[in-house]
Symmetry: C2
Subunit: 319 residues, 2 copies
Amino acid sequence: MNARHPRHSHLPSTAIVREVGLRDGLQSIATILPTDLKCEWIRVAHAAGQREIEVGSFVPARLLPQLADTAELLAFARTLPGLFASVLVPNLRGADAAIAGKADLMIVPLSASHAHSLANLRKTPDDVVAEVARIRAARDAAGSKALIEGGVGTAFGCTIQGRVEKSEVLRLMQALLDAGADRVSLADTVGYADPAMVEDLFEAAVKIAGDRFWCGHFHDTRGLGLANVYAALQVGVRRFDACLAGIGGCPHAPGASGNVSTEDLAYMLGSMGIATGIDIARLLALRARVAGWLGGETLHGALWQAGLPKTFEAEATAV
Amino acid sequence: MNARHPRHSHLPSTAIVREVGLRDGLQSIATILPTDLKCEWIRVAHAAGQREIEVGSFVPARLLPQLADTAELLAFARTLPGLFASVLVPNLRGADAAIAGKADLMIVPLSASHAHSLANLRKTPDDVVAEVARIRAARDAAGSKALIEGGVGTAFGCTIQGRVEKSEVLRLMQALLDAGADRVSLADTVGYADPAMVEDLFEAAVKIAGDRFWCGHFHDTRGLGLANVYAALQVGVRRFDACLAGIGGCPHAPGASGNVSTEDLAYMLGSMGIATGIDIARLLALRARVAGWLGGETLHGALWQAGLPKTFEAEATAV
């Protein structure tokens, strides 16, 4: 525990950084990373202390060739002790693959923006809710223990329809729970959130979902990613998605950054005395390797350039 | 007022973004911007709604040739209606120039890190306090109305000595007030702060200085600049330094970013319904021009790439 910055009463003592670089990051860039390098990424992230990794997405390879090796990655991830492996599944077909591959958790994305949902998923949000019910039935019928997470995206607005009502976001979140989702999450898919909006919406969401509220997913598109994380921490959220080197970008804003970067987030949490279990020095070494593998891709994040402060106490991050 | 994101009770209704790019920004980069372009910067920033600008520093030109035209800039700034012009003054000699030039405010920097103070200012922190007493006497003797701001830097640690004790920061802040400073501020000179540290220290500082607590100065060296601003807002701080395009860098971390970027900060505040008086579209247009003037310099900030969200309500920023 960091003696200098006593934990604030409103901050948790531990938090989890879920690595989504292999899914949300890699699906958004042109480079196709070979399977052996992805396995190496997962192996070293695990060695650096990361315990939750989204390894890929069970979508048709013709749609996302970058993620065609998700089944192999899931099999590899399951060999690492204590690693909680998740995959994105857009539908029942994907869920069947996740169940067969013994994923620990499957994330079903729902877009609260009807326009965005139709454009991206070719379904209405309520169609996705119905699909979650089918996934739940299939999961239970298979005797699988894979958790189902309903992830409500465009929760703060969207680039197509603009505003997304808070009441609609919360209605869909409740509908996902009612349909059988074990967990629900909120995502600022396009980087429209500010910290006040986050406190407002996440507070209401946690009130509804309680312990089933799982994760905050923030993009750093307009530089507010970590401020939004800090706001979510205030209302009890303890798990955040992040991409190593902030890879991913935003398809609607060329050159703009994607998810919050894993290393900057782990640093912020660790500096505040919130244990994540992550060894940041090892994470930065991994970042350097991944940066090499990704050649000309635009990367993000600040810590890798500046390094850890002289005052940073590494033991603060140990769980 | 932004109807969608009602102000939180713990957030202020207005805040001030003080532009320090012409001082903290330009002093840290190699490019020497011609005086006419600096005047254009000040003129357009004022037209975009900025009402507080630090125009330069009264230090010997041989030390900072980038800022040799501070007297001319101050004279120009005084022609713009409602513009509150500040300058940095390291000592009584600088203060004499600021008083002669009719600055509205002179900022006297003090480094709470003794090692940093000796290395950068060649004085102990308490020597600086004594100098502030002399500046106050000179100001009063001249019948000047220029306010004196004591800015306590390296308030969260320093790259030379590492830790800086909170008690020492607060002692020096009190000493500055006792010596005659009208205002006091805290600066995270090297980007060591995290939001929990900010809430902790700024809360104590505001308790001591009350309305005389003036400004938070955050560097984005490790990506936490805006999160730190959000934390300071929680404890009642309403004025923040920022550099257009985040220029400035950190001499101890090549390539790392400098102050929080004016445009991203103005966006965060405006998005939360906190009025700053700044027209962000005009500010982004100015950023593009300044970026052109600064040629090969490394710039920072996210908003300029992504643009304002479709949901952003411009009227929210009007005072």
